[in-house]
C-alpha cells in the first residue's frame, strides 16, 4: 500500500514539475500517467506494490468524483435558466464523439483483422 502511494504521488509531482517548467496547460497527473507508462515499458514489469493495490484503487474511482458532482448544487440556478437547450447541447456533444470514435475504431479494427 505504502509503495503504491509513493509511486503514484511521486509520478504526479514529477508530472506537475514538467507541466510547470514547460508551461503546458495539462494537469501533472496526466503527464504522470504517461511517464509511469513509459517507466513500466522500460522496466518490462509492474512493481509488486502497484500490481496488488492499483486494481482496488481504480475499482473505487467513482468515489473520487462525488465531491465534483455535488458542485452541480452551486450552478443549479444557471443550469435551470438555460434549461433544455443546454441539456440538449450537452447530450449531443457527448453522444456524437462517443458514437463517431466508436464507429471509426470498430471499422478500422475490422479492416485490420480482415487483413491479418
Amino acid at each position: 500500500m505504502l509503495e503504491m502511494v509513493l509511486w503514484l504521488i511521486g509520478y504526479q509531482l514529477l508530472g506537475e514539475f514538467i507541466a510547470h517548467t514547460l508551461g503546458l496547460p495539462v494537469p501533472g497527473a496526466v503527464i504522470g500517467m504517461l511517464l509511469l507508462f513509459i517507466t513500466l515499458l522500460l522496466r518490462r514489469s509492474v512493481p509488486r506494490g502497484l500490481q496488488q493495490h492499483v486494481p482496488v484503487l481504480l475499482s473505487n474511482m467513482s468515489l473520487l468524483f462525488i465531491p465534483a458532482g455535488v458542485g452541480l448544487l452551486a450552478w443549479w440556478p444557471l443550469l435551470q435558466e438555460s434549461g433544455w437547450r443546454l441539456l440538449l447541447a450537452l447530450v449531443l456533444s457527448t453522444l456524437v464523439p462517443l458514437l463517431l470514435s466508436a464507429l471509426v475504431l470498430k471499422t478500422l479494427l475490422g479492416r485490420l483483422r480482415a487483413r491479418e
Binding site: 504521488i9 473520487l64 448544487l73 437547450r85 456533444s93 457527448t94 464523439p97 470514435s101
Partner: protein, 238 residues
C-alpha cells in the same frame, strides 16, 4: 439540549464530516447499484452525488463547508489518474496492434466533440461565455478548467459541464452499445474515455479491465489533444 445542538453543529462543520458523508453516500450508491443489478441509472457518481446534495439541503450545511472535507477526496483523483498507467501496460499487446486506428479515432472524436459543442451552442442561441465554457467539456476537470480560462469561458461552469457530460456518457454507453450490438470492450472503453473522461472511465472499469485501460488512455490523450485544439478552433471559427 442546547449544548448538544451546538456540539453537533461543530462536528458537522469539521472536514471529517464532509469525508464521512461522501464515503457513506458512495457506500449507499454501491448498495443500490447492486440491488438494481447494475442498472445504468444507478450510476454510483450520479446516485452518490444526489445523496450528498440531499443530505446538505436537509442539514443546511453549505457547499463550501462540505468541500472542506470533500476536497481531500477530490485530491485523490490525481494519484488515481497516474494509476491508469498500470491497466494500460497490461493491455500493451492490444495497444500495439491497434495504434493506428486508435490515433485516427482519437483525432476525429476529439474534433467532433469540440465542433458539435460549438455549433449546437451557437445554433441553440446560448450565451457566448456559456458556449466557450462548453467547448472543453469532454475532458477531465482540471484540463477543462485551464482551457476554459484561457479562451475566456467560465472555469467553474466548465467543470460542471464536464461532470454532466461524464455522467451522461457513463449512464448511456452500455445501453447504447448493447442496442447497437457492438461488443468490443476496447472500442467501448476508448469511446467512453474520449467522450466521458474520468467518470466514464470509472464506469467502464466495472465492466472489464480492458475497457477501463483504453478509457484511461483515451481520456489522457483526448485531454492533451483538446488542450491544443480548443484554442485553435476558437481563433479560427469564433
Amino acid at each position: 439540549m442546547m449544548m448538544a445542538a451546538t456540539t453537533l453543529a461543530k462536528i458537522a462543520s469539521s472536514p471529517m464530516a464532509g469525508i464521512f458523508i461522501t464515503l457513506l453516500a458512495y457506500k449507499l450508491a454501491i448498495l443500490l447499484n447492486k440491488r438494481c443489478h447494475g442498472h445504468p441509472l444507478t450510476n454510483t457518481v450520479l446516485v452518490g452525488s444526489l445523496i450528498v446534495i440531499t443530505l446538505l439541503l436537509l442539514s443546511g450545511i453549505s457547499y463550501e463547508r462540505y468541500m472542506e472535507g470533500g476536497r481531500f477526496i477530490l485530491l485523490l483523483l490525481g494519484p488515481a489518474t497516474v494509476a491508469l498507467a498500470v491497466p494500460l501496460y497490461h493491455n500493451l499487446p492490444k495497444l500495439r496492434r491497434a495504434a493506428g486506428p486508435l490515433a485516427i479515432a482519437l483525432c476525429l472524436g476529439a474534433l467532433a466533440g469540440i465542433l458539435t459543442a460549438l455549433y449546437l451552442g451557437q445554433g441553440l442561441d446560448l450565451p457566448h461565455n456559456v458556449v466557450l465554457s462548453l467547448l472543453p467539456r469532454s475532458v477531465t476537470t482540471p484540463i477543462a478548467m485551464g482551457v476554459s480560462e484561457a479562451i475566456g469561458g467560465i472555469p467553474a461552469l466548465s467543470a460542471t459541464f464536464v461532470i454532466v457530460s461524464g455522467i451522461l456518457g457513463a449512464v448511456l454507453v452500455k445501453p447504447l452499445f448493447t442496442w447497437l450490438g457492438w461488443r468490443d470492450d476496447m472500442v467501448l472503453g476508448f469511446a467512453t474515455g474520449l467522450a466521458a473522461h474520468g467518470i466514464g472511465t470509472a464506469r467502464v472499469f466495472q465492466l472489464s479491465e480492458t475497457a477501463g485501460a483504453f478509457a484511461g488512455l483515451a481520456m489522457g490523450l483526448n485531454g492533451l489533444l483538446t488542450a491544443v485544439l480548443v484554442p485553435l478552433v476558437v481563433s479560427w471559427l469564433m
